[in-house]
Structures are given as C-alpha cells and as structure tokens.
Amino acid sequence: MIAVFLKLALGVLAVAAAARFFAYPRPRGRYCYLSRCAVAFAEAASDVLFPPGGEPVYSGREVGIPDFFERYFAALPRRTRVLFQALFCLFEHATLFFPAPGHLGWRRFSSLSPEQREAAIQSWHASRLYTRWLAFSSLAALFSIAYVSHPAVLRQLGLAPRATRTPIARADLLYPPIGRGPEAIAYTEADLTPPSDGTPLRVDAPLHPAFAEGFVRAPERIS
C-alpha cells in the first residue's frame, strides 16, 4: 500500500515538475534562439521592468523585447547564448527558493500575478546578497539594452542615429562586404569622394533611415 502511494506521489511530482519546467504555451512569434521558457519569462518581466505609463511612453511589452533578444542571441557566441538562457531560466524558476508573497508564490515567474512579479523583482533588486544583486543587474542590463534599442524609444529620447554621407575612401576599393568576394567591391578609383570636412553634425539632421520608421508597434508620440 505504501509503495503504491509513494509511486503515485512520485508520479504527481514528476508531472508537476514537467509542467513547471517544460509546459509553456507556443509563443506568438517564431523564435529560433529563445526557448519557450525564455520567451515567457522575457514577456512577463518586460511588464515589470518597463511598465506602461510615464516617459518613454512605450511599455516593455509594446516594444517586443523578446524579438530583440532573438536578434541579439543570434549574433552572440553559443557559450554566451547558453549563459543568458540559463539566466532567464534562473529567474523564471527562482520562485521555488525565493517565493513571491501571496497565494501560490512559488509558481514560475511567468505564471505569477502582476503584483507578485513586481514583488519578486523587487526582492532581487533590493537584495543585500552580492551574487543576487549581480544576477539582477545583469538581467536588468539585458532588458534595458533591448528596450532602448527599439527605434521608437530612441526617437522619443532624441537619441536615434542621424543620416550622414559616408565618404568613399581608398580602403573601400580593397574590402568587399563581409561574406562576399572581391567581385562585390562596388567602387573604383572614379568613385572616390572627398573625405569628411569636419562639419559638425546638427541636432536637426535627418534621422538614419533605419531609425526613422519601421519596427514600430505603438503609436508615435515623439515629444
């Protein structure tokens, strides 16, 4: 009888563990470099780290932080990518050891209520434990990078890169774009242009096209 009960209990525990660690809904976007766990955590944490309201007007969820992580992780070496995934996983499941206040505060981070998520993040932020603080600082840094990378946020801050005329230097006759061969060198001696004359870039210079529009989900409200 005891053996049956133990087996049953173990089975329930295994199902609970599997549900906790593996059962995530399919994300809205298509992600190759982010696990479902990482996407769920990133979306949930976006709301706490960059809530709606105040300036800048965009919330973390509006700017699509997981989309940026997908691009960023794709550019990172595998080892670093794995470390970042592990960091997200740590925060997602750390509620087992540092439960959020309130009912069922031990659930994974992305399953907590908004108030519980806020409290969980606050406990990391205010921790006097150096390693906990370091982990939180790393996480907040990653999310801040993602948030401020959004063209709409940069535009609102007035910090979007400006368009500029890039002179064609003699060195441009030597190097093809990365991944291409010398046949892709687009310039000849005849294309050389005078070097930069040192005219300071003006505050009212037009924005770089990549930052002037695109990748915008929220209505533009540039102050």
């Binding site: 706490v48 780290l49 960059f50 105040g54 300036e55 800048p56 691009r71 960023y72 550019a75 990172l76 070496p77 670093t80 806020e118 993040i121 932020h125 006097r128 150096y130 603080w133 370091l134 600082s137 907040a140 801040s144 990078i145 948030y147 401020v148 990378s149 946020v153 801050l157 007035g158 910090l159 890169p161 400006r162 500029t164 890039t166 002179p167 230097a169 003699r170 060195a171 006759l173 030597l174 190097y175 093809p176 774009p177 990365i178 991944g179 291409r180 061969g181 010398p182 060198i185 001696e189 070097p195 930069s196 004359d197 040192g198 005219t199 300071p200 870039l201 505050v203 770089h208 990549a210």
Partner: protein, 512 residues
C-alpha cells in the same frame, strides 16, 4: 582595385577554397594598431610580409548602429568577456581587420617621461626612456594625423568637463585622436560612418598592401612552429566571420614571426604551442588592466549627448596620483544598461538620457595583477584578476573626484556605480557615502586597456621579451602588442603600443 606593388593583396573568407600554404620573410599575427604598424614598416623596408587577422574587414555597410549588436559582431565573445577570480571585470577585445582601432574612440596620448623612467628603473631597460621613444611617437603621430579634438565637435557633454575643471582649478585639455574631419557623431564604438577615424584598416594596412604586404583575413593562428632556438612559422585555420566555424588549414613558413594578437590571444597562442617562449614562467602572468569607473550624471539643461566627439576632453591632473579622468559616450542601449533600478524609476532615468553626461576614470592599478590561461578547448582565454586593497583606495578616490567634478559642473543628480550605495546622489553632502570603505567588487567597472601578459624585462628570468620585443628564448620570435608593457602606461595605451611597434619594426628590419 587599388594599385599595389606586386604581391600586395587582401584575402577574405569567401576566397578560401582549400588549405592554404604560404611563405614570407615575416608573418605578423594580428592586425591591430601594433601589428599594422609592424606590417607597414617592414613592407616598406622591402621584406615580404604576410599579415594574418582572425576577423574580417568591416566596410561601412557592415557597421551595425545598435551598440550591443555591434559589439556582438566586432568583439571577441560577443563583447561579454570578463575576468573571474576575485574581480568580475568585463573586458573587450576586437576581432576585426584593424583590431581595436575600428571600434575604439581613437585616443592617442604620450605617457609622461616619469612613466618610462619607472619602466627603465624597475625592469632594467636601457633604451626605453621617453627621449628614446619620441622619434617613434613622432612618426606614428605624423602618419595618422593625430591632433587635439577641435572645439567645434566637442559638444556640450565634453565641454562640461572643461567647465568643471576650470571651476575646481584643475588642468584639462582636448584629447588628441587619430581622427581627421570628425563630425562629432559620437559613433566611434560602432565604426565611424564618416570615415573620419583613421583606423588601421583605412591607414596602415592599405599602405602596407601598397608596399607589397599580403593580408589574409579570417585566419585564426593556433600554434607557432619552432625548431631548436628558432621559430619556423605558424599554423592555424580559416574561420568563418561571426560564427567562428573552422574550415581549411593554414600553414605559413617565415624567417621571422611577429605576434601582435593582443594581451589575451598572444599568451594563449604561446601556451597552445607547447608553452613556447616561457622559460621565465612569465607568459600569461602579470596581467594588468586600467579598471574604468564610469559615472553618469543628469544636468538641468539638455546635453544632447550623442552630438560631440565620443571622448573629446580629459584631465591629466591626477595622473601621478594614479588615475585619468575623461569624458565618454557610448551607444544609448549600452549606457542604459548601466542605469540602476527597474520599473518607473528606470524609465524615468532612460527618459533623461538627453540630459546626461558620462565621465570615467581609468585607474592605473599597478599593484593588481591577474593571469591569462588557455582554455582546454579552443583559443579563448580564461582570465583571472584581483584588485589589490591599495588600488581599491585609488578607485574610491577616483570616484570621489568624479563626483566633485560633476557637481562643480552643475549636475543635478549623479548615479554612482557602487553596489550598496544609494542609486542617486543629489549633492556633495549626499556623496559623502562614497568615502566609505567600499570593496573593489562593489564597483561596476570595465576595462578595454590590458597589459603585461608577456612583459619586457632585460632579465630573461623575469620577462618574456627584451625591450625591442624579441623573445629571450627564441631569436626570431617577436611580440609587439601591449602585452609587452612592463607596467601600465597610466594613459590610454594605443599610441605607446604603436610607438614601441614602430621601433621593433626597425629592429627587425635591420636583422632580416
């Protein structure tokens, strides 16, 4: 294509179709500022030169304007390399044709005489006084057109430091840089779209190619080959840009091998070559940094911080004390990464970035050392570093001076990068808390300046190379990167590294 002397060429990843076997008088490993100088000078002396670089050449269309994505493409380990073993210190090394010069802020400073006097006295050097090196500094400065940052591209953010120094009676000056026609776009760290920065890929390397040098990019050197007391060449592999995926084998035979792979990579190559050139036991030892403490502050008036030279002004007032203070700007996402807090408070700080100025102190932590060790697999280093308690005192002092300067310039709020301190300080009285006995690890720091991992010393038992960069153990192996500095130069190291490399090139040319 550009007109070159016969033989001059640059080869890129797409051109490799099989194993590569080459021969040259001199093979130079690494195309950063030091390697590029040696390659150009030796090519002009008539030697056949092969320059190997692990990274690709970046054209303006390859530049990524987003700071973090740019770092992931141009820096080793995605720009997220750090030390362990006591101090968690992020450190960045470039992987690109031109090395760090592609993505640094082009600062060129000659160290004062007392730096070299100290080197000569403590490391038994006879020909490395400032007077000995001045002709080499002159040559490099002339070639690159190094000049102080003009006033019209300083921008408000840089001039605030001048205002602060004037108010407190400290000396200050515009930073000299290898830049011509700067427009003050503040984009040095992501690659200069104005082609104003005179990085090595635009200057020394094309000139070396014109003089007949061959440049092989996307080649990772893995071992130096030696027979008896001489080296015979290097072997490595072609690596794909960004992924680092290895493919064809590369074998280069050469009369002279010059390692300029940098403070981290040079010791790793030597260690992977069967602990070559290490009878002294000093390869990979004595690693030093300039830990940088950066402080952000908000001003009542807009500073339009993205306009103006990335690093345009500095004060050398505290150099003898052990630190140098300079202005700083970085792509906004990277700056935002250093802002404290979360939620509304973090958003408010981000919203104030247009009123922000960032200054940093680079600290000459002479007593603090670390170690470079090759990892078992691959060519990445394992770095350990520990900050000496006396240098921690210096860090605290530098932080205090930065705070004083900010409030003297009229800052409304400063954000001290210290674990356990308040997130915002609003007056000098508030800032008294920074005088407490904070530990080194409490400071959020980073460093791009590294030295001493293959240091010079006249005594073969205490150094890896002599003062001309020649290895004590192997007569035709030279090291010319900043790893040969016997101690921190107290100022930004690029120009000193290039001057020493210029001298080494002449020394090698005489012996070919």
């Amino acid at each position: 294509m550009l007109e070159t002397r016969p033989g001059g060429e640059v080869r890129v990843f797409a051109q490799y179709k099989g194993d590569v076997s080459e021969q040259a008088d001199v093979v130079v490993v690494g195309s950063g500022p030091c390697g590029a100088v040696v390659a150009r000078e030796l090519a002009h002396s008539g030697a056949s030169v092969l320059l190997l670089e692990e990274g690709p050449p970046f054209t303006p269309q390859d530049f990524e304007l987003n700071g973090s994505l740019s770092m992931a493409r141009t820096m080793r380990e995605g720009g997220l390399r750090f030390t362990t073993g006591g101090q968690h210190l992020p450190t960045m090394q470039a992987i690109a044709l031109g090395g760090g010069s592609l993505v640094n802020s082009a600062i060129c400073v000659r160290p004062p005489s007392w730096v070299f006097d100290g080197w000569c006295g403590d490391f038994e050097l006879e020909h490395t006084s400032r007077t000995d090196l001045d002709p080499h500094f002159d040559a490099v400065e002339k070639f690159l057109g190094i000049a102080p940052t003009p006033e019209n591209v300083q921008g408000a953010r840089n001039l605030l430091l001048k205002r602060a120094c004037d108010a407190l009676g400290y000396s200050s000056e515009p930073i000299a840089r290898n830049v011509t026609g700067c427009r003050g776009s503040g984009e040095c760290y992501t690659g200069c779209r104005n082609r104003a920065k005179q990085s090595m890929d635009l200057t020394y390397i094309p000139d070396a190619i014109r003089a007949g040098a061959r440049v092989l990019t996307s080649v990772q050197v893995q071992r130096v080959l030696a027979e008896g007391s001489r080296v015979t060449g290097v072997v490595g592999q072609v690596v794909q840009p960004f992924t680092g995926r290895r493919s064809y084998r590369v074998h280069v035979r050469a009369k002279v091998v010059v390692l300029a792979a940098g403070v981290m990579a040079t010791p790793v190559i030597l260690q992977k070559s069967g602990d070559l050139a290490n009878r002294s036991g000093q390869v990979g030892e004595n690693l030093q940094f300039h830990p940088g403490v950066a402080v952000a502050a908000f001003f009542p008036e807009p500073t339009d911080p993205q306009f103006g030279a990335t690093q345009g002004y500095h004060t050398l007032q505290f150099l003898k004390e052990g630190f140098k203070i300079e202005t700083l700007w970085a792509p906004p996402p990277l700056l935002a990464a250093r802002l404290p807090g979360y939620g509304r408070a973090l958003k408010r700080r981000i919203a104030e970035l247009s009123h922000c100025a960032v200054w940093d102190a680079i600290v000459s932590c002479h007593r603090s050392t670390g170690r470079v060790r090759a990892r078992c697999f691959g060519m990445q280093p394992r770095l350990t570093y520990r900050i000496h308690p006396e240098d921690t005192v210096l860090l605290r002092r530098a932080l205090w001076v930065l705070t004083e300067l900010f409030f003297a310039a009229g800052a409304r709020t400063i954000l001290p990068p210290v674990f356990g301190a308040p997130e915002e300080l609003h007056s000098l009285a508030d800032a008294e808390v920074l005088r407490r006995a904070w530990r080194a690890r409490d400071f959020a720091m980073a460093s791009t300046h590294a030295f001493c991992s293959t240091r010079m010393h006249s005594d073969p038992r205490r150094g890896v190379v002599d003062e001309f960069g020649r290895c004590h153990d192997l007569e035709n192996l030279y090291i010319v990167d900043t790893g040969i500095f016997p101690r921190s130069p107290s100022v930004n190291p690029m120009l000193t590294g290039m001057a020493l490399a210029h001298r080494s090139a002449g020394f090698i040319a005489e012996r070919l």
